[in-house]
Symmetry: C2
Subunit: 244 residues, 2 copies
C-alpha cells in the first residue's frame, strides 16, 4: 500500500477518533501515511474486518504484519514505542488510564448529537439531543475537565503543568484534542467552564504550541472539525448566547 | 486495608464494571479482596481521587503502592500478569482491542436506560430510553455480537472457538460477562439474536462452565444483576414478548 512504516486507516473527511492517533504519530515524528486521506474510504472499509484479527471499526493501525484497532490502544502502543511516556509500569498504566478516560468523554460528546441511534440523522433525534447536550454541557464537561484539573494539581512533581511525572506524555495530546473539540462544538459552554479549569486550558494551549503539533495542524494532513464528525457545532446544542 | 495482594475498589451492590475485573482475578486464582463489598461504598469513594494519580471513577485496583483505574486497563494488566494471554506483542494488542470493544458495548448497554442524563432517574427519561433501547436491540446487539462471531471464525488457529490463538484468553471473560448481561437485560431480543451468533453463545457457555468462574458465580462474592446496575431488565425496553 505504501512504503511508510505506519499506516493509519481511518475515514477521510473528519478528524474523528483517527485524530488521536494522528497526533501521536506527528508528535513522534513517525514515518506514517494516512491511507484513508490518501486513497479514500474504500481502502479503510476494505481493511476493517480483513485478516486474521478483524477490527470492529477504524482507526486501524498497520505496522508491517501487525494490524490492530481501538484508538486508545493504538495511541498507547505508539506513545510507549516512541518514548512519549516513561517506561516504568506505573507510568504506563496511568497514561493508559488517562487515555481511556478521554475516550469516555469523546463517546459522550458524540452522543450529544446522536443520543438515540448512531445510524439515524441528527434531525431525527433533535429533541433528545437538546436534552442530552444540556446535561453534557452543564454536568459532564465540568465533571470530566474538573477531574483532569485535579490530576494536574495532584501531580506535584509536575508543578500543576503535567498529567504525569515532570514532563509531557502522550495522553496530553488526547486531552488537548478533546478540549479543542469541545471549544469547537460548545464555545459558549466552554467560555463558562474554562475559568474553572485553568490548568487544563493552559495545557491545551501548551500542546497547541508544540512545534510538531502546530506544524501538523496547519498542514493539509490535518482535517478541520465539521458537522460530520464526533464534535459538531450545532448552536442549539450549546449554551444560549448570553452576553455577546 | 487488608493483607490481600490485590485490592479491588468498586461500588457494592451491583456487578457493574467491577465484575470484569473480578472475573479476571477469580480465573487467575489471585489473592484478592473486594474492598467495596467488604467495607462498604465509603471505602470506594475515599479511594477515588486519592493519591498522586486520582481516578475518575471506580473500578480502582491497588497492588502494593500501585493504584490505577479504568476497567479495561485493569483487566489487561491482570490478564498479562497472570499469563491469561500469550506474551507476544500482537496477542497483547489484540486482546486489548477485544477488551475495549466489549467496553464500548457495555457503555451503550448502560445508555439504553440512561440515554439523556446519567444522574437522573430512569423514569425521567423513559421515552428516550424506549427509542434508544429499540435501536440497541435491533441494530447494535446484532452488529457487535456479529463482529465477535466473525472474530471467532477468522481465527482459524482456534477452530472457531477462541478469540485469539488456540486457547482461552482473558478478553473471553469480558465477552462472557457482556453476553450474560444482555441475556439478563434483553431476554427476548437475545432469543432472536442468539441463533445468528452460535460461536459467541457457545463461548459464553464454555466460560460459564470453567471451574473457577462457576465456583465464583455461586459464591457470596458474586453479586447478581439487578435494576441498579449497568444491565437492567425493564420489560418495556426489551423486544415485545412474541410467542411465550
Amino acid at each position: 500500500m505504501s512504503d511508510a512504516k505506519f499506516e493509519l486507516y481511518y475515514w477521510p473527511g473528519i478528524p474523528g477518533r483517527g485524530e488521536f492517533v494522528r497526533l501521536v504519530l506527528e508528535e513522534a515524528g513517525a514515518d506514517w501515511v494516512d491511507v484513508g486521506l490518501q486513497s479514500g474510504g474504500k481502502a479503510v472499509s476494505d481493511m476493517i474486518g480483513k485478516g486474521p484479527v478483524p477490527a470492529y471499526a477504524p482507526p486501524v493501525l498497520k505496522v508491517g504484519d501487525l494490524v490492530f484497532s481501538q484508538a486508545a490502544n493504538i495511541c498507547s502502543y505508539l506513545g510507549e514505542r516512541f518514548g512519549l511516556v516513561p517506561s516504568d509500569e506505573a507510568s504506563r498504566l496511568h497514561a493508559r488510564q488517562f487515555q481511556l478516560t478521554v475516550a469516555d468523554v469523546v463517546a459522550e460528546a458524540h452522543d450529544t448529537h446522536h443520543p438515540i441511534a448512531v445510524m439515524k440523522y441528527y434531525d431525527e433525534q433533535k429533541d433528545a439531543a437538546k436534552q442530552r447536550a444540556e446535561d453534557f454541557r452543564t454536568q459532564r464537561i465540568p465533571k470530566f475537565l474538573g477531574y483532569f484539573e485535579r490530576v494536574l494539581k495532584a501531580n506535584t512533581q509536575g508543578g500543576g503543568k503535567y498529567l504525569l511525572g515532570s514532563g509531557f506524555t502522550y495522553p496530553e495530546l488526547a486531552l488537548y484534542q478533546l478540549v479543542d473539540g469541545l471549544l469547537y462544538a460548545f464555545p459558549n459552554a466552554m467560555r463558562r467552564v474554562s475559568p474553572e479549569v485553568p490548568g487544563v486550558m493552559a495545557l491545551h494551549q501548551r500542546i497547541k504550541e508544540r512545534p510538531r503539533i502546530a506544524a501538523y495542524k496547519q498542514s493539509p494532513r490535518a482535517q478541520p472539525f465539521n458537522p460530520q464528525g464526533i464534535f459538531r457545532h450545532y448552536p442549539e446544542l450549546d449554551d444560549p448566547n448570553a452576553t455577546k
